[in-house]
Assembly symmetry: D2
Homo-oligomer: 144 residues x 4
């Protein structure tokens, strides 16, 4: 199978997952790209996403990163779930800012995958760095 | 200062933060209790909070836990921010389920605090376990 | 089965694991107690455990916490492995200090367990807080 | 300043830290390379590094990763400490295996840095993936 076929399938999986996600509309998530083992997801920070200090809620930044991670860890077309994740918050994201999560695969062995996700703002600063552990559950995400 | 005074202040802080959080309405967060070094926050899982597998999105569960953590780590009335957090997902939360996050302080030294947050469902099963690292920024959350 | 029987088995498991650990001698680990879902492990910081800043190496503190975690997550007599862990470093541990890790169970569902481990010094300050995710592999640790 | 000068300084820092680490001899750590924002550290798994299941102790793998992280996060010649770290264990490392940790910088803003460290075996499989958060304390590691 060529890289292109794998990437096309990965993109179709991300599009499928995106179309079924309840949070896609809640956060205004945009699929910016997806391929074999990677994915990009963006959103614009809105008032409805803020914490008590009036910057983007850490949980909403985590959600963005987790979403890119989900697309990436399902990109081999085996249903996978997040088991564990950690996030480091570097710089607050302000209302109105567009933030983009970029997930990439660090390791994939047996049923386990590890992905790093960086969340960046348009001015280039890093907002957060996330690492997720996935475990496959079996079954396909989409028909091949 | 008595425990009661500290707890009353902690509760006032949680109420204040809760009143200013943009996500409070987005997720339907309810303040279930707060005191010195601890807080409880609940929500009912809705369609708008789901992932592509139609269970509660990991990021939304993280948001719930992170919110209880924020109330707890600000409960000494010194403004504090999350620096880092990790979460382990144990059992999926279904649409319609009420889930409650309970944050409690593990350590507090100098500007640093560590909190464990357990997220449980009404049938008693654990949904997720979260650990957060906070750092104070100075300044008061509310007037004393 | 009474609490006492479960605790006695858990202690026997911890003693067995401790007797086979290569790091037990390397770090001078001492089993301070173990029961159903919990364990305590201590060591005295030595020159051979330091980092380049001449305080106890973070990896050695992690090892101590991880060891208490291993005893606790194997305490039901089903072989379990660490899948993921996070640690927050609060205060450095100096050469000559005795540090104690106390692991306790936060959740245990199906094959998955989550444990919090606090590492404290004799003067009462918290050195580190650890959280670990375990997964059972099947098989018994000791004969019952 | 050229890349070369920065890399040469980073290497000198790693060599200095390595020469003062008490664990260097304990674990037989080897400095495999270091530059601006990155470092590589290896060791061979020995009996003295095992857990109760007779494979490399998770804490010792963490120590290896943490050491590469320390060299990388001090590579700008500002003293930095680990604040928080997480690790995902992918595949056990056996006695006799050489394992190498490769730390690389994900983000560096103000006093905060985030580093990913992958630990791999000679047959190419990933043993563990680590992510660390560092914070600078001020002061230089070596004279410039």
């Amino acid at each position: 199978m060529t890289q292109t076929k794998e990437d096309a399938l990965a993109r179709r999986i991300a599009e499928y997952l995106h179309s079924t996600e309840g949070v896609a509309e809640t956060f205004g998530l945009v699929m910016e790209g997806a391929g074999f083992g990677w994915a990009k997801c963006s959103m614009v920070v809105k008032e409805s996403m803020t914490n008590g200090h009036k910057v983007c809620h850490g949980g909403v930044l985590f959600s963005l990163a987790d979403n890119a991670f989900a697309w990436a860890c399902n990109s081999r077309n085996v249903i996978a779930f997040a088991q564990s994740a950690s996030i480091n918050f570097i710089s607050p994201a302000q209302i109105g800012e567009k933030v983009t999560a970029h997930a990439r695969e660090e390791a994939n062995e047996g049923r386990t995958g590890v992905y790093t996700v960086t969340v960046t703002a348009e001015d280039g600063r890093t907002i957060a760095v996330f690492q997720g552990l996935s475990r496959t559950a079996g079954g396909k995400v989409v028909e091949e």
